[in-house]
């Protein structure tokens, strides 16, 4: 049961309420963390519903967050581990502890390094096309275009990637993608023929590159060179998002 209801009044027992920003126009969620979490919920066959009215957790201010049986939780990795325990779902299959360790390294590299390249592309380099990614009211869009590039440049400066030239930064981040491609090789999924928990994170990020960063050097790299990553994304999309086109944001007039 995947319900995109905008208002959640009564939540049945054991149904996860996923609080997040709305659907994207070209990708089910423009946030790699939301897509990671939603892919996990689908992979683990845990019933959920989406709430876009309160995307930010009232206590921590972070997004996404969930409510389950009255209890709130933030941070996608903490959520995934909690839900795996709660619903007794082990999405690691036959993976060895070394494979799980490499998967952890990969996840953290994407979440702490590549993520910032995505932020730079969307909110600095390609800020004028942000409206093509997700629906933003005109006034908010105008303010965002004025405020966000400066704010994100500062965040990137603090993180470190912002202190390189744009070309150097892209070079480093393309290496992250090449790394992914090398480790994936010819396998269907990250750790072999069956998808596992790590695939949720990798798909969450690669889907952004392929469908949520048009015109970026990263999209170009996937389409021109790293074909195995493009095929991997399509494989994950076919398996878990057969309703991909239906769940994308549709303007109200068309409904």
């Amino acid at each position: 049961m995947h319900n995109s209801a905008n208002s959640v009044k009564v939540t049945p027992k054991d149904i996860v309420t996923l609080h997040c920003l709305g659907r994207g126009k070209t990708v089910p969620s423009p946030s790699p963390f939301v897509l990671k979490l939603e892919t996990f919920l689908r992979m683990a066959e845990i019933d959920y519903q989406i709430d876009t009215k309160k995307p930010f957790n009232p206590k921590s201010g972070k997004t996404p967050w969930i409510t389950l049986n009255g209890a709130d939780l933030t941070d996608t990795q903490i959520i995934i581990e909690h839900l795996s325990k709660n619903f007794e779902k082990d999405l690691w299959g036959e993976a060895t502890s070394e494979e799980r360790a490499i998967a952890r390294m990969t996840r953290l590299t994407l979440e702490n390094h590549f993520y910032w390249g995505m932020v730079h592309w969307r909110w600095v380099k390609s800020i004028n096309t942000i409206g093509n990614l997700m629906p933003i009211p005109v006034i908010k869009l105008t303010v965002a275009k004025l405020v966000m590039p400066r704010k994100m440049k500062h965040a990137l400066n603090v993180q470190g990637l912002g202190r390189y030239s744009y070309e150097k930064m892209v070079e480093f981040l393309k290496e992250d993608l090449r790394n992914l491609s090398t480790i994936l090789g010819q396998k269907d999924f990250w750790l072999g023929i069956a998808p596992m928990e790590i695939d949720c994170t990798i798909f969450g990020f690669l889907a952004q590159v392929l469908w949520g960063m048009p015109g970026s050097p990263y999209e170009k790299l996937l389409k021109d060179e790293l074909f195995n990553l493009e095929e991997y994304c399509n494989r994950m999309r076919e398996k878990y998002y057969s309703d991909f086109s239906e769940i994308l944001y549709q303007p109200a007039a068309k409904q």
Binding site: S60, K62, D75, S97, E98, R100, A101, I102, R104, M105, T106, L108, T109, E111, N112, H113, A155, V158, Q159, G160, R163, Y164, K168, F172, E175, D176, R178, N179, T182, I183, G185
Partner: protein, 276 residues
């Protein structure tokens, strides 16, 4: 009268802008002069500009230790300068070589590796090197945060004495600097026990990947071993009484042995390199 008031305002604004831009230009020129006049070494000798060594480790910065270990592994001669630790991009370490300035430890390592044709990665497969790179990036981008949190953000006052010479580091106000950065990074949103738990899980993962190999990828060190050593050595020698140090001595003993192996190979003069 209103007109002359407006004209005066206009001139005042113009003057202020003029003073601001001229001041900025002078400041930038002086900065450039500072960097250009920084200590330089003989031809083909790298000058590493960084913070001083400490009493327990040749350098308490994992990036400096990475760079120095690489220079030793690649047999590139170097000298150290502590007078201007922050480089033109506001980060440390940075180097000068034959009059040229280079910033960022990874950029420097890659550049020198190419320039001196000293490829520590020779003989390893692409997939192995990809895994080593992933370990390095994880440690440098994520696990690295356990250090400033443990040293400068959590303890009040910041923990300078245990590792550094207090006067030198006090001036740089690491406490506030890293508190702000940690908030922006996101790691500081979690409570201390959660952060420690994350960091220990990261170390467990590195320990699993290393296994019983001598170095990350086998019996000889690759380029990323310098970076991994630079990070893990801090846990063993420069995060005194921390859960990370305890981990190295107990569950992560293969990481401890790895550090000793790297120290034995590249830092035979370890004791002489410490601050006395």
């Amino acid at each position: 009268m209103f007109e002359s008031c407006c004209t005066n305002c206009f001139y005042y604004i113009l003057l202020s802008l003029g003073i601001y831009f001229i001041g900025k230009w002078i400041y930038r020129r002086r900065q450039q002069d500072t960097f250009a006049n920084a200590k330089s070494s003989p031809k083909d000798v790298v000058t590493v500009h960084c913070f001083p060594s400490s009493t327990t480790i040749p350098n308490p910065s994992p990036f400096v230790l990475k760079l120095l270990t690489f220079l030793r592994a690649a047999n590139i001669p170097y000298e150290i300068d502590n007078k201007i630790p922050y480089g033109p991009n506001g980060k440390s370490p940075w180097i000068t070589l034959n009059g040229q300035i280079y910033v960022d430890s990874e950029v420097i390592v890659n550049h020198l590796s190419k320039k001196y044709n000293n490829n520590l990665n020779e003989g390893f497969k692409d997939e192995e090197l990809a895994i080593a790179r992933t370990v390095r990036v994880m440690l440098e981008e994520r696990w690295f945060w356990c250090m400033p949190l443990w040293r400068f953000v959590w303890p009040q006052p910041p923990l300078y004495k245990a590792v550094f010479q207090k006067k030198t580091y006090d001036n740089y106000k690491f406490g506030q600097r890293y508190k702000n950065r940690a908030m922006l990074n996101g790691i500081n949103q979690f409570e201390k026990p959660q952060v420690i738990s994350f960091m220990l899980d990261d170390m467990r993962a590195v320990s699993k990947i290393l296994g019983d190999k001598q170095f990350l990828l086998g019996s000889k060190p690759c380029q990323d071993d310098c970076a991994v050593f630079g990070q893990l050595a801090q846990a063993l020698w420069a995060l005194v009484d921390s859960p990370y140090e305890k981990f190295m001595h107990n569950e992560g003993s293969n990481l401890k042995e790895y550090c000793f192996r790297m120290k034995e190979r590249f830092w035979k003069d370890w004791d002489a390199s410490l601050l006395h």
